[in-house]
Amino acid sequence: MKSKAAVSINKLVKEYESSGNVTRAINGVSLVISFGEFLMVTGRNGSGKSTLMHLMALLDDPTSGEIIINGQRASDLKEKEKFRLRLKELGYIFQEYALIQELTAIENVMLPAMMLTSHKNAKKKAEALLKKVNLENKMNRLPTQLSGGEQQRVAVARSLINDPKIIFADEPTANLDSFASKDVLEIFKKLNREDGITIVMVTHEPEELAYATRVINLRDGKLNEK
């Protein structure tokens, strides 16, 4: 057990302003996620689940409060350092796959690695990861030539390319049928149990909660830990 928390947030607040009205999407959330956890975040629509994920993955800035990722205080980091952290230590999986349409499956997976290593090494690594998510036969297909489940598995492989310590997944099964959802969740389970990767996932589906080691519930931007 490592002493440092994977993610630690303290009194996190996120407000949105629209036409003079202030909406508080996250309302003073404090949370510690340990390394090796498979944390699922649930809650109704508009409860602030996705906003919390965006904040923890450093895709958005909080209005107030503190986020610490692997011992690094987000507010102390320069933009360049945040990019480096996202690139090397965090993986992010979007609900709608978010693949680059002009790149094949393997090219999408290689992309983040090409920031750090040679094309040859990135390709080798991407091939291994696509094999891991059972897409070795569809490496050279464009996203439009893949099913939703396959695209999401490509997105999973891409999130793993730089050996991240933490993966954030925002409703990764929302657009998938039950079989494809199971495939993705099994991959997450394996990554968590066998590779020790910390996974933070937002879900709407109660049956998916069984994969988690811990579940938290958000209601109106506030935390209800189960």
């Binding site: 895709l59 990019f83 978010a98 349409q101 983040p112």
Partner: protein, 399 residues
Amino acid sequence: MKNELKLPFYLAFQSLRRGRKWTLFFTVLLMAVAFINLIFVSALFNGIVEGSNQQIKDTLTGNVYMTPKQGTLYINEASKLLTEIRKVDGVQAASSSFQTPARIEKGTRSGRWPILAIKPDEFFDVINVSENMTHGEYLKNDDENGIILGRQIVGGEGVELNATSLRGVEVGDKVNVVFDGFEKEFIVRGIFYTNFIESDTRAFITEKALAKIMPIAANKATVVNIKSLNKNEEAVFDRVQGIDPSVDTFMWTEAAGLMKSVSSSFLSINVLMTLVAVIIAAVTTFIVIYVDIINRRRQIGILRAIGIRPYIIVLNYVILAAVYATLGVILGSLIFYFGLAPYFQAHPFKLPITDAVLNLKWTEYIARVEIVSWVAVISGLIPALIVTKTKMIDAILGR
């Protein structure tokens, strides 16, 4: 860092390779049109200026010309002077003529026009009136009764100076020519049309014919015209200057007169039109690339989310813009040099001063390629910077 720097090229290459081909085609076509717009106006004005300059040389003065020293009326011993001039390095041909004012009469119509007495076969080598005969034929050396008239003297429908012309003369007609104190009837051998008004208001007879009327004009000249290659004309001018101290030597530009100010006006308009074309090229390129980038806003957000730094994304779009510009310049150049220029060579713009063709100097071409390239790079840079500066989450969620 080395790997990072390869990424924008990789992304740009894949985008060109796998992006929508029609979008790429229309983007390049738009760039090509913007480039053609930039070079066409310059080429046209160059063509007009070069064409009218060449008209002055071909139909009026040659590249260099000589006149009697101020205060004297004639160049004496013209044949001796011509012999010396023809020996000068760079001189292709030289001829002399004796110009005298005269009144030409035909029926009830008459007018005063300059008449030049020439040796037709020598004059032919310097001034190209013989190549511009629209009716009849050029003069022969021993023709003592023949005259050829410019279109503006002959007149007729569509002729610019018809009001002051003889209003219709045909080959074979007889015209009466009244010199100072002499008068002779000439037969119209031919009519010429050089498309240069100053040339087309002249008439030519042979030296032999003038010698009969004015024996004093024998072996005298009022002007000597010298032909050289355009690139050698200044050297020839320098070399022939010292041959005869009793003459004044001029470059053709000294006779350009009104054309000089017309040319200078065209150059000013050219600068103005080029500026407008640059603005059009800049706005067009900016819109094309901006629309392209806005359409990829979410993709740019995703790239940032997976750790691709903004400068790589910006560089990717700058490379794409440079590729669009390069392809646009290549396509524009092909259309210009293999489509427009040959077409206008075959069907020149008919102007009262010249038949203008498209004439683009290499220096201007290079300058305009540079302009389009810079405009494209800046037009790629600005929208890419704008999009990469927006909040990442807003770009991803399309807010």
